[in-house]
């Protein structure tokens, strides 16, 4: 098999979908969370780079759905299903939501945003009955993640701990 493998890059507050043998990746996740929704047998996966927990925080009239946990999960499911994923077979993996800076006692809500993003994504995935089969969240390190829809391996690279696979 000599198919070329493309790595589809997802930016901040963005989402996309790939089929095997291609890979999908997003880099420099800090407090943001990368959530992957996939159908293993159909070898299709979507990835969203979520920045904020809830679209009610938006101050703009038009909303970028990939930016907020509550709107991103729904949109990502639609994207994956449209690309051939079966709604009832979807599973999820996620990584990110770090707290990059250690703050003194009076840490504001915005500083705990990583934790809140993870919590909001859990709620949304639960709401759509999508099981989270693996996650690597929290901590204080930035992450770059890459998902392979064929093997369903999510590889996570950090500056201090090298690469780990979940």
């Amino acid at each position: 098999m000599s198919e070329t493998v493309h790595v589809v890059k997802v930016g901040i507050a963005d989402m996309n979908v790939v089929h095997a043998p291609n890979l999908i990746r997003t880099s420099g996740l800090g407090s943001c969370v990368g959530v992957v929704i996939f159908d293993h047998l159909k070898e299709v996966a979507g990835l969203a780079h979520v920045m904020l927990p809830d679209s009610s925080m938006a101050r703009s009239e038009t909303i970028n759905v990939a930016k907020y946990a509550d709107t991103a999960v729904e949109a990502l499911i639609r994207l994956v299903v449209r690309a051939g994923g079966r709604r009832e077979m979807l599973k999820a993996k996620m990584a990110g939501g770090a707290q990059m800076f250690s703050f003194s006692s009076k840490s504001t809500d915005m500083m705990r945003i990583g934790e809140r993003n993870v919590e909001a994504l859990r709620q949304q995935l639960n709401r759509f009955h999508i099981p989270i089969v693996a996650e690597d969240v929290g901590g204080s390190s930035g992450r770059t993640i890459e998902f392979n829809p064929k093997t369903t391996v999510l590889s996570i690279r950090t500056v201090n701990q090298g690469v780990k696979e979940i």
Binding site: I12, G30, S31, M51, R59, M100, F103, G142, T144
Partner: protein
């Protein structure tokens, strides 16, 4: 962030001037601290989508040493002082006199506090110059040091902005050692005001935003 469209040449010049005054003051402070002449570049004001911005600063995965502080008060925003790892090493060596310091792996407590103090002094002098120039009251948070991917770090500066849109206005000024001008990209100040702060800054300087 609808006012991005309203920014005129005059507004951009004002933002550049802010970068000038802030970083100029910081360069003086750094010259005194290291006892050598530190120069600064002409400030760049970049208006870019988040992902464009990450590309402009060299890619989200680039590993840097960064001191971050949050600004509260009349014009809230975020300030980052970003150093390449070799430059951060050089600064720590100069400040502590310890030539064995490296940033590969574990950074000693002394190295960490030296870098933190450096960021503290520089960001503090940048902000006090900005406050004097605009007559605005600005309260910096305690500066925090981290060594990690620049994309992951700068996300903190984009949170407030991201509620209003997908664009950031970045005021970027670089410092460099006069005798090593080739290293001019080594120390950067990034000032990322919150969306509403632009109006406050312009108003304070007698220019309207419309």
């Amino acid at each position: 962030m609808e006012h991005i469209n309203k920014l005129s040449g005059t507004h951009i010049d004002i933002l550049k001037e802010i970068g000038n005054i802030g970083a100029g003051n910081a360069a003086t402070a750094l010259s005194k601290l290291l006892n050598k002449k530190i120069e600064m570049t002409v400030p760049h004001v970049q208006i870019a989508a988040f992902n464009e911005m990450m590309e402009l600063i060299g890619g989200a995965e680039q590993v840097v040493a960064c001191v971050y502080l949050r600004i509260e008060g009349d014009a809230p925003g975020n300030m980052f002082f970003v150093l390449s790892l070799p430059q951060a090493e050089r600064f720590i060596r100069q400040m502590t006199g310890d030539e064995t310091v490296t940033l590969n792996g574990h950074l000693s407590e002394l190295g960490q506090s030296a870098l933190q103090e450096l960021g503290n002094i520089l960001a503090g002098s940048y902000l006090s110059a900005l406050a004097d120039f605009t007559n605005l009251t600005l309260y910096p948070s305690v500066p925090m040091l981290t060594i990690d991917m620049i994309g992951a770090i700068l996300q903190y500066g984009l949170l407030e902005l991201s509620r209003a849109g997908d664009y950031a206005i970045l005021i970027d000024t670089a410092l460099y050692d006069e005798r090593r001008p080739e290293d001019s990209v080594n120390g950067h100040f990034f000032l990322l005001p919150d969306p509403d702060s632009f109006a406050s800054i312009f108003r304070a300087l007698g220019v309207d935003l419309s």
